[in-house]
Symmetry: C3
Amino acid sequence: MVTSMLNIIRRVCCRQAYHHQLSRLATASTQTRGLMAGPSMRPQEGQGVTPRRAVLYVPGSDERKLAKLSGLTVDCAVMDCEDGVAANRKDVARETIRKTLGSLHLPTVGDLAVRINAVDSGLAEDDLKEVLQAERLPDTLMIPKVESVSHLQWLADKLSAHFGPNPPSSPFKLVIFVESALGLLRLANICEEGQRLSRTTPFFTLEGVVFGSDDFCADIGATRTPEATELLYARQKVVTIAKAYRLQAIDLVHIDYKDLDSLEKQSLEGARMGFTGKQVIHPNQIPIVQKAFSPSPERMEWAKALIEAFEEHQHSGKGAFTFRDSMIDMPLVLQARNILKMADVTKDKPQ
Amino acid sequence: MVTSMLNIIRRVCCRQAYHHQLSRLATASTQTRGLMAGPSMRPQEGQGVTPRRAVLYVPGSDERKLAKLSGLTVDCAVMDCEDGVAANRKDVARETIRKTLGSLHLPTVGDLAVRINAVDSGLAEDDLKEVLQAERLPDTLMIPKVESVSHLQWLADKLSAHFGPNPPSSPFKLVIFVESALGLLRLANICEEGQRLSRTTPFFTLEGVVFGSDDFCADIGATRTPEATELLYARQKVVTIAKAYRLQAIDLVHIDYKDLDSLEKQSLEGARMGFTGKQVIHPNQIPIVQKAFSPSPERMEWAKALIEAFEEHQHSGKGAFTFRDSMIDMPLVLQARNILKMADVTKDKPQ
Amino acid sequence: MVTSMLNIIRRVCCRQAYHHQLSRLATASTQTRGLMAGPSMRPQEGQGVTPRRAVLYVPGSDERKLAKLSGLTVDCAVMDCEDGVAANRKDVARETIRKTLGSLHLPTVGDLAVRINAVDSGLAEDDLKEVLQAERLPDTLMIPKVESVSHLQWLADKLSAHFGPNPPSSPFKLVIFVESALGLLRLANICEEGQRLSRTTPFFTLEGVVFGSDDFCADIGATRTPEATELLYARQKVVTIAKAYRLQAIDLVHIDYKDLDSLEKQSLEGARMGFTGKQVIHPNQIPIVQKAFSPSPERMEWAKALIEAFEEHQHSGKGAFTFRDSMIDMPLVLQARNILKMADVTKDKPQ
């Protein structure tokens, strides 16, 4: 079906929209857009990209909780060296993570990540050294509190020093955190540099941006409300920049882990804004979040019917047309395609 | 009345506010602000600028719909080569537009525009060539999906190659579209370059920015809701940048063309945000939109009374004063002046 | 208590968070972050910084209102040369301010400021000259309508010319206004330059940014609503940039000075967004605003209990922990600390 859709798209779309589609469907497109200072084309939400609808943190110092991961089905699990670990347990955390990486079998965890401490913390180098000694390396590295392009250069330098002339067969996936006003101000530059290093070094591929809402609130002196109106600018700016660079955008954590109704509401809102996933801190949050960031049956029915109608009208040479009382042209067709693509990527994944 | 108001303003305002007013009233001011990398002063919503409260798209491939334009009264009508035209009808569209431009008499259309395909589409050059052969050229050119300053340079180059040493007697009016995360990220640079080319070439004058919300949503993976909360950041950023460069800002399209109540609500909201107009896709939407983007009788009464009160207080040497329970100073006077100016510009135009 | 808290923080936090705290507690830290183009570390809401929860304007031309200041208790009072003064009373205003500065005893005004006219107005130089002749200089200078880094250089140049080789023993505190689309677009650059000049000249220290909402609305053609949805982008962008540069952020004025319920609601909303204070235009607004920008007893109780729980869990080596049904880690601890700090700074100040 993908091939026949591609043929249709090739015929009907202007070249740019077609390239747009292609790049989203591509497994590992690395061509650039040919624009000044332009982000390179990267696949997004397409095949070859790891879905991260739910991103679950587990404190690296808690052996019991880490062991429980083997019974969990989740898109992304994060062994945490940072905020979830007390300062006097940092050594324990990184050692426990190293051992657990080598011993734990996690067939139902899609993406296994380690979050090291912030580059400015003085702890990051020790974290990284220990993790890189593990028998099995994590799929993804997560860097919190990125506030400068130099943080990404630091990572490239450390990995280069570690691997020497024998880089890993496939680069680490990299996910960075924006958690301060300064980080948000510089996010576009940081993503730009992250993509440049992804192209020019063999060590990592920047795949996503996480919005660390609670650190951000502390930084700007804001107070969280249930509606999160105070974070609207920051959240939508994070989505816009992430998507401009074809990166995943991971939304804020819902810290009241007992209120699942409110979690669902917030998750659906994040998905509507364009976030591709959400941070979770309790296993009970996983299924609600993963469902919210998957297309609903109603949306899939709408998308399929719209694309069918679109194809009919294209064959008969009509452009814009009416569908269920709305005027449809290419942008809505692209939205419908996004929905079906996302459904395809996550169809074998547990919700 | 304009002259006496100007005299009053000259006396009462600080020099900057006075220049501010002057530039808005001026027919074709081109002086720069004398600031580093500053946008040049351009008229806005003032005399000499084409109002574009409603911007109506008509598919260029649909001869019957184009012919109907002669019976419509609308601020701006757009003959469309882009999203409203099926891929296998692009040739037909540009030919039909060329012929219609030469033959159709449109006394009740304020501004006649052609939207060519995106510069990256591979179709734009053919569109432009055909349109430039028309017996009567359009007033305005519209360029969709602008994501780079190079798109504007492309247009200047093509027009220069076409016209050679004999540029058109008056430059085309130019309206550009922001329809992607990347376009939004670069919008300030794009407007800056658009203004530079408007000053340094005889081919076009950048007058407005359209927010293409549905393409934008497809690009960032967002889902449209009736309240459009998911687009708040993008819409308000578009308004801010457009106004910083003294450009019109044209708001999103309301695709459910049967729900006129909801259209009115969304139009009024856009006007309150600072948008100067809105895209429409059905003739029934025109009067509602043009009314929403015109000052209401209540607002005009408020503006007139406030300015009268202001003049009295100025003559008696009082600064800030109380008017209907609110403390009034220059900013509110400027707002009142904007309202009367807009009313003046659109007073002979149909709603 | 501060010392013991610092010791605990030193032990438990990663180095960055610790520096973060330190800089906020420091009286006059001037070290830079060591990042490219990075704002320097400055104290924020901490000891040594003047609270400006309410910022009250008094027209400089109104001797009677200026005299009434001696009976008012307010964080910050502004003798205004700008929007509150009629154009034919500018001379009177600056003379009256000079005399009043020398004669008035204001023990219950925390910070005494003068707002001169905008640098582009042609009036600013005369304002400044007159004010600098006063027997007692104001604590703070306020510059409205800043739209360019050159406005700050102008101020440094004028002060340098006035003081020659004998700069004032302590620099003026400087508060700037963002009141236009262009000013908002350039705000980060302006703050950057303000901090650079604060470090490299002995004349002023940039402490805050005021959002001039009504001039901003006039500039972008927006219409104010009670909910101020149309200003969400601008307000949250101002907070984000101000906080990235460790500056105070002063929120919009509530012009309907009789509606105190609505004032309270808007003040609390601004405080939740991260604003540190609000402009007021009537003495009756002061206590409501100062209370809204102070931590509530409930928030202080929450903050104290959370920090106690945090310390216990740190001693026992646990990282993230559950507190009142929420998962707590460092970001929430930092928020709790902010609340207690703010309470400490304002505890001897009148509400």
